[in-house]
Symmetry: C2
Subunit: 242 residues, 2 copies
């Protein structure tokens, strides 16, 4: 066991992934994460209720009332973020917990990590599920070069420009293009996308990753048009390649 | 526990991550992965020796002699890959194991996943450590938009063009740029890169992720020039943002 990864905890900002689905924690998180979580008293969280639920799932004996939570989400004022790190600068380990998956990947957690870095504070990411990475693994697409674009623009002309740009980066740079959509728009996106893309482009649709309904399926865009899946409100990640 | 993630195994191509460092497996892999590994008899591996060592680390009671290994690496002829999936098409689960980290992300594993997808075979990625993702989490950089570029070009003029392109994508697209270098060239790269980039660009250097020597540090490129780290032959991932 390496010194660094011992449950004996360091004075650091721990980035603590949570599950993506209803899967049991031992399906998606290393035991080590649970050991670390037990040692932390101060958590910066995207949502206090879900964070509490996660901590109870890690260890039902954790006394939530002894913990302090600092909420960091789109409603947080930027000027309020630095103060959240006081316990860490005072010598106490802290944890960052987001709504789903890995903190600081597609959530406000990155802001507090940036502040920690700018102050020379130690940051330690823990292993956990990422729909971006697991979708890419399962797609069979190029993993030597890929881009995650987050949400596509909603405005039609901007969106069509983005489709063109993705196609160009696939063809010219051999770069896999990965993106998400607001779940209730998933079905509309698939139709739009598969009509806009030429037949030599492949789409991987990865739904409910790590969950009971996990499906990671790669097909040509025109094949998808012949057998449209129902992705309405299902957590889904989309990947494009040739 | 979800039906799907039960140790009761499916007829699928399991993508099985391995460690990145000398860390114990329970530091970086969920228990579930070990349960799955125990059930698989046919493995497509990048290197048979390291795969054997990994399997013994998962469970020293695994009888390696009862397992079949199919080597898939840069020396493999593309026409030999489809035949590797015979056990799976015959109804037996298979595993893919790469040299380090997550299979099919930056290794030949992606080729066999692509073939499995084209035949409609089920592919199931398991959770494990990824230096790309963990480096991004720890960097404090934008995780809503990022690109992994693999290795930078070696030719100086091509490399400088790549530097310019990365700078443009950071400034115009707010896209974090992530890349790697051949370990013995790490030190030269840092100097080159920090000289080439303007002062408002930040570089995160993430070394020995999950290992005893893990360090994930973000600084301005000019700050790095004043305190150059020794990264010679140390596994490192580089991230750039503003």
């Amino acid at each position: 066991m390496t010194a660094h990864r011992q449950p004996m905890i360091e004075v650091a900002l721990y980035l603590i992934p949570v599950g993506l689905s209803d899967a049991e924690l031992d399906m998606v998180l290393p035991q080590h994460n649970i050991h670390i979580v037990r040692e932390i008293k101060h958590f910066i969280v995207e949502n206090v209720r879900t964070a509490r639920r996660f901590l109870k799932k890690c260890d039902r004996n954790i006394d939530i009332d002894l913990l302090t939570f600092y909420e960091l989400n789109r409603h947080t004022k930027p000027e309020d973020i630095p103060a959240m790190l006081k316990p860490l600068t005072g010598g106490e380990p802290m944890g960052v917990i987001s709504e789903a998956g890995c903190p600081a990947i597609a959530d406000p957690g990155a802001d507090v990590v940036a502040i920690a870095q700018s102050r020379g504070l130690k940051v330690i990411p823990l292993v956990g599920p990422s729909s971006i990475l697991m979708g890419l693994m399962g797609s069979g697409f190029n993993g030597q070069s890929f881009a995650f674009l987050g949400y596509l623009p909603i405005d039609t002309s901007q969106r069509n420009r983005k489709f063109k740009e993705m196609e160009q980066r696939i063809m010219r740079e051999n770069q896999t293009q990965i993106f998400i959509e607001t779940p209730y728009r998933n079905n509309a996106l698939v139709v739009e996308l598969c009509k806009a893309m030429p037949p030599h482009i492949k789409l991987c649709i990865a739904t409910d990753i790590t969950g009971a309904g996990e499906r990671i399926i790669t097909r040509g865009v025109k094949q998808w048009l012949n057998q449209l899946p129902d992705l309405n409100k299902v957590p889904t990640i989309f990947l494009l390649y040739k």
